[in-house]
Symmetry: C2
Subunit: 337 residues, 2 copies
Amino acid sequence: MAKKPLTPAKVMELGFGFWGSKTLLSAIELGLFTELAKGARTLEGLTSRLSLHPRSARDFFDALVALGMLKRTGARYANTPDTALFLDRAKPSYVGGILEMANARLYGFWGSLTEGLRTGKPQNEAKTGEDFFGTLYADPQRLEGFLKAMTGLSIGSARVIAGKFPWKKYRTFTDVGCAQGGATVEIALAHKHLTGGGMDLPVVQPVFEAYVKEKRLEKRVRFHPGNFFNEALPATDVLIMGHILHDWNLDEKIMLLQKAYDALPPNGALIIYEALIDDARKGNAFGLLMSLNMLIETPGGFDFTGADCCKWMKAVGFKRTKVERLAGPDAMVVGYK
Amino acid sequence: MAKKPLTPAKVMELGFGFWGSKTLLSAIELGLFTELAKGARTLEGLTSRLSLHPRSARDFFDALVALGMLKRTGARYANTPDTALFLDRAKPSYVGGILEMANARLYGFWGSLTEGLRTGKPQNEAKTGEDFFGTLYADPQRLEGFLKAMTGLSIGSARVIAGKFPWKKYRTFTDVGCAQGGATVEIALAHKHLTGGGMDLPVVQPVFEAYVKEKRLEKRVRFHPGNFFNEALPATDVLIMGHILHDWNLDEKIMLLQKAYDALPPNGALIIYEALIDDARKGNAFGLLMSLNMLIETPGGFDFTGADCCKWMKAVGFKRTKVERLAGPDAMVVGYK
């Protein structure tokens, strides 16, 4: 029985994985994919359009080819179908906002992961006394960028929820912590019999309403200004929380689930969707790493499995729960009252 | 012809790839794999041995399971065959030194990749006027760690070179820029008829000689102190440069190749090995990213293809050249005089 000799290739590939990751993040920061969406470019043309120094431009572009993010035909670089659709800032399908945020903030903060693991404390702006969200909410343009980035993160899953959940049985819904309204809008567009809304902090209102108007949904979709820690949730047939619960500690999670239960009518439903960790906690690396990101970003947040969420839902009173896979690493947990 | 709908999964996976990469780097920094080499540990045992805060320890270990770097059986965490062999500091097969360096230095410096691409200037200690190598060479213990890390990077390829190159035709060799002597020793161990040596800066001598003595090769392997910019190379049948040429700009590369040609006897051979970029510059992402790492680390260094190297070798006089794949992303170019 000849055994293949072990090599350090897998260890090295993962250990140096930040090289390829940061290369993509810099390409998004530089607007490379947005530029190429206007047409294929030569090395010289692209270097000049992006104001790059000639020294490493070719290595940079060719590395993106080797990473599957660009294609090169003859002397011209072009987007792949994926990057053309998802990384062109001019397209509504742009998901790069969240990666711009990863580049500008998280990449650096993750440099202190070891300290976070030793102390259990966040490693973001909070460490130096800055208030990221305070500053963000005070700057309407940056806030809009951030809220749009959240849409990029949620819209794939929202489309699957619009298709998989039995919406015919319900008439009203609220997306709690709705941001720009990415999920709210997808669901309303897919189901004309629904009226619904999004709840978020008052500062979010103009961004939400502009997006809803752009999608011509202002007659069926409204904004509920409020802080979900201080106020009751809107009494609608279905409540949704996407990438919300993982921000908070266990007591806060349970409190939010209880609040949702209390606001729902009999037979109402709560949909929680996140990058759920698999129940065995061995498979969904992204969900587990997202939980480490909650260490970096929050005082007590953490990600969880479908089984964890079902248990908490039952504890606050939900009769029945169901877990279903969505797009990418996301899954949803539905609790029926 | 039904087309699969595009999803942003590949873009997101690469964009957030730094999460998994940094998680492994922190695990190496914390000595996780060295600890588990002593025996499997429970969550509580491992958390306490590594002095971690309990908040995120379980997510951290389980993320490493999902990334394929640990296994968990029942309640106990253990190394995989790969991590047991390559990431236990107590084993001579440890390759983690280079990843410790990536964690302590490169992860942060790569945060300025965009600036590097715009300016063409290094983004390491040089940017703040520090002298990384000066400080390193002044501290024997840190220097030894660094030179050992280089062994981890080279030893896999050195074993393949020991096997593939027609050593029977030659009697003497010198490894130019030998560091600890990782490659020098592998080749001498595999071919008892060879006598050889390593050339590096004088400060490297004690580390090289200790390693050679440990391998009982002091009768066949000696150290040549010298700076390959100021001095001639030792006149031996074969000269080797591993991960050396990519540090330098084109003029310096050509000068080093010329120096090697001049030092070799007729029918002598020069072996260059590196993470060579594939000739089409579309496949070996690691080689292209290594070239961006030369932007981060050096004023003019860059990686290159086998075809580039053959062309330069021919230009300085080599009669015949040959490119062969080695371990992982490495390949060698042999020039025959």
